[in-house]
Symmetry: C3
Amino acid sequence: MKLHQVADRLHCRLEGDGDIEIARVAGIEQAQPGDLTFIAHEKYVAKLAATRASAVIVSDAIQGAPGGPALLRAASPYVAFAQAVGLLTAAPPAPRGVDAASAIASDVGLGPDVSIGAFVTIGAGATIGARTIVYPNVTIGPGVRIGADCIVRSQVSIRDGVVIGNRVILQDGAVLGSEGFGFARQPDGTHLKIPQRAAVIIEDDVEIGANTTIDRPAVGETRIGAGTKIDNLVQIAHGVRVGRRVLLAAQVGVAGSCVIEDDVILAGQVGVANHVHLGQGTIATAQTGIPNSVDAGSYVSGYPAIPHRDWLKSSAIFRALPALRKRMTELEQHIAELEEKLHACQTASEK
Amino acid sequence: MKLHQVADRLHCRLEGDGDIEIARVAGIEQAQPGDLTFIAHEKYVAKLAATRASAVIVSDAIQGAPGGPALLRAASPYVAFAQAVGLLTAAPPAPRGVDAASAIASDVGLGPDVSIGAFVTIGAGATIGARTIVYPNVTIGPGVRIGADCIVRSQVSIRDGVVIGNRVILQDGAVLGSEGFGFARQPDGTHLKIPQRAAVIIEDDVEIGANTTIDRPAVGETRIGAGTKIDNLVQIAHGVRVGRRVLLAAQVGVAGSCVIEDDVILAGQVGVANHVHLGQGTIATAQTGIPNSVDAGSYVSGYPAIPHRDWLKSSAIFRALPALRKRMTELEQHIAELEEKLHACQTASEK
Amino acid sequence: MKLHQVADRLHCRLEGDGDIEIARVAGIEQAQPGDLTFIAHEKYVAKLAATRASAVIVSDAIQGAPGGPALLRAASPYVAFAQAVGLLTAAPPAPRGVDAASAIASDVGLGPDVSIGAFVTIGAGATIGARTIVYPNVTIGPGVRIGADCIVRSQVSIRDGVVIGNRVILQDGAVLGSEGFGFARQPDGTHLKIPQRAAVIIEDDVEIGANTTIDRPAVGETRIGAGTKIDNLVQIAHGVRVGRRVLLAAQVGVAGSCVIEDDVILAGQVGVANHVHLGQGTIATAQTGIPNSVDAGSYVSGYPAIPHRDWLKSSAIFRALPALRKRMTELEQHIAELEEKLHACQTASEK
């Protein structure tokens, strides 16, 4: 594709030779002639001089270099790059039609142009919306409702009655609607299972990562809000309510009955204790442990979580604790000496 | 169902109108007329006045309010609530009989009323006990022995020779009997695999969460004791011995050859180093890292784990470390001033 | 098998009765007559006197006891033990041939003696090397290339175009080639998916644990180097490059675009932030959080990661922080007293 065609498609302003042939997208350090790349932030501007890419997507804040690569000016270079990847890479092949080697209950409702791979099981009363693609070896339970234009990857299990919106993507091995971890301790010390049969609802435009698990509760519902993106190996416990446009990175764990408001971002391996409420836009850095509710707009770190700036300071001192203790010991010695001197002084003055 | 019928079935003492129709169970804040809910602890008594529920399960310690909801008195309200959920919600549909689209070796022993879903594979010599339900897309290896009244959810893999007791529940995607992470470092730096072919034994009444993994060892056995409940995405390494009635929350990791005694509780994301012994009734709070063995009855937190009360105190001071360091610096300045004054005093007294 | 035969096969020097019949391998504490066990380190020599094993693999540094078990002398007892396990335990049964209940695209290339289990799906254009075994209920996408002598366990999903070398072992439920967690934030706060369609390459002799996930990137590649071993429930994000002979224990998470050099060892639940570079031979203890790049040969702990020895010292003081603060308060009181005394002394000397 000619660069000027790419510029048109990405709604970018072109600076340089529009007749260059663009074959691929690449990272700025790996890029070769024929590649399109991008600079997301001004601080990486030095890479512009060194790249071998034929063209680079940049913001208006970045100045081109004479003899450097052609530029595509974009209001948001990262968004334009995302579009460029879609434009210049081929979509992977998908199953077409309904595979004969699938087990679909007779009353399942399949929308137009639905694709179902081999060895997929779909239980009684389920419905699958238009153009949704179900890859091989997926299990969809009775009564499940899946919207239009969804993608369900292999080895996924969707339990009975789970409700899924439109344009939802489920990566391989994800489990939706498994039974929450709810037991009542009995007088003899054994644990009585509290049946977990209530709802799981996944709203539109959600993506759920590989081998992530989302439990159903005993009462009420577990809900993932529209536009939320969840990475791999994440645990969402029973009764959790996740808002819209939330980002949960890999291996995050959210315990039962939490409320996570819109636009929250939890980095990798963060843990949230049960019944915690995270206010809108809360950000937690990797491995943070959050035992208590957090106000909207908070930026927290550590275990237990404290404001990020405090944590940075305390962590720096943590590393220097041996030095701090040494200062303490020296101070104690110093004071003992002072006391002796003072005593001598007192004795002298009493004479 | 009439409330007096519910009371009978739950063995609760009824206070109020037994002719109320109860349709659902619900959390106390979400409950609507027609709902039954519960109060597990006296500290939530204030919610009793505000709930719209028609009836509430409470202990004898909680006083009813005139005009408030009907009460069901129970010795353990949480246990009664667990029973109420079972009573008032419908069990999800399950496969019936043996699906023709399954691959069951000719010598597999199936007990009476076993159900096997589509695309289930069962290897040679395996046995499945009475009334056990195997959902679609499960793999059961050769020689596996599964007891009676078990539930095996979709996408589970049970490797060859694993032994499972009665009334065991395996949530979707769980893996039992995968090979432990055992390698011997060779002189050239490469890692020689130690074959992991020994036993995995799951005793009666165990529940294992979605996408949890339980490894087999090279020698000896990995064992999960009766009545133990394991949440999602938990790692049980090779040769671990877990006792009875243990609770392991989501994303816990237990390294090789650990011994976890009866009634231990590990909260989410706890890690236990290899060869560690956790004494009976040990409790560890979320994200605790346990590098060394712990005596029975311990209550630990932190990384590395220390007694919970000590950890609370130290964590509070951690947050205040910048202030502590400031006090230290002020003290040092103060002492320097004192020393000067003392010197002046000495000089004066010597005159 | 006679002990002298075992000695021959393991290339060990025999001390004792070579005609003993050896039936099993076992841990030194569980071993019974007829068992072969081992001592990996001199510090465990005391166990030699107590074991009931018939024979023990030891290094030259360990002295035998009169009347004790027969000894097999090995340069590396642990390597010899690994070989003994392979020698004395039966390999588990594997599928033979290509199961009729599989869905294999017509143009798939199958090497000689490939085995494919029931309900396996293999997409168009894929190739499977000689003697590779694919267990039941596996999904292999279009264009996947798998080498010779590989083992692919049940419930694994290998996405389109993933390239796998020779002698690779994939434990149950592993996901290779799922889409990386890449989104560009748009002006309205929604997240635009950056298509993730680039390569995942698994080199020779890699082992990947149960339910582990390895993501593909938007551009470039995700690569796992030869001889690297990855445990269960590990997350490898998009664009990560893992070197050779690396060991990643269970529940480790490696964020996007990291470079992990050869011979790195990360213990359980370690997290590595994105774009971090871990130099050759880096070791991190369990639960370490690594936010910044680390030089070759480093040994780190803590969150954020610091040198292990520093972390041990600081952690010990962390536990003693209440005592440290008490000393601080006492010091402040002491100084106040001193100041008063000094004042009295000054007043006296001025008289």
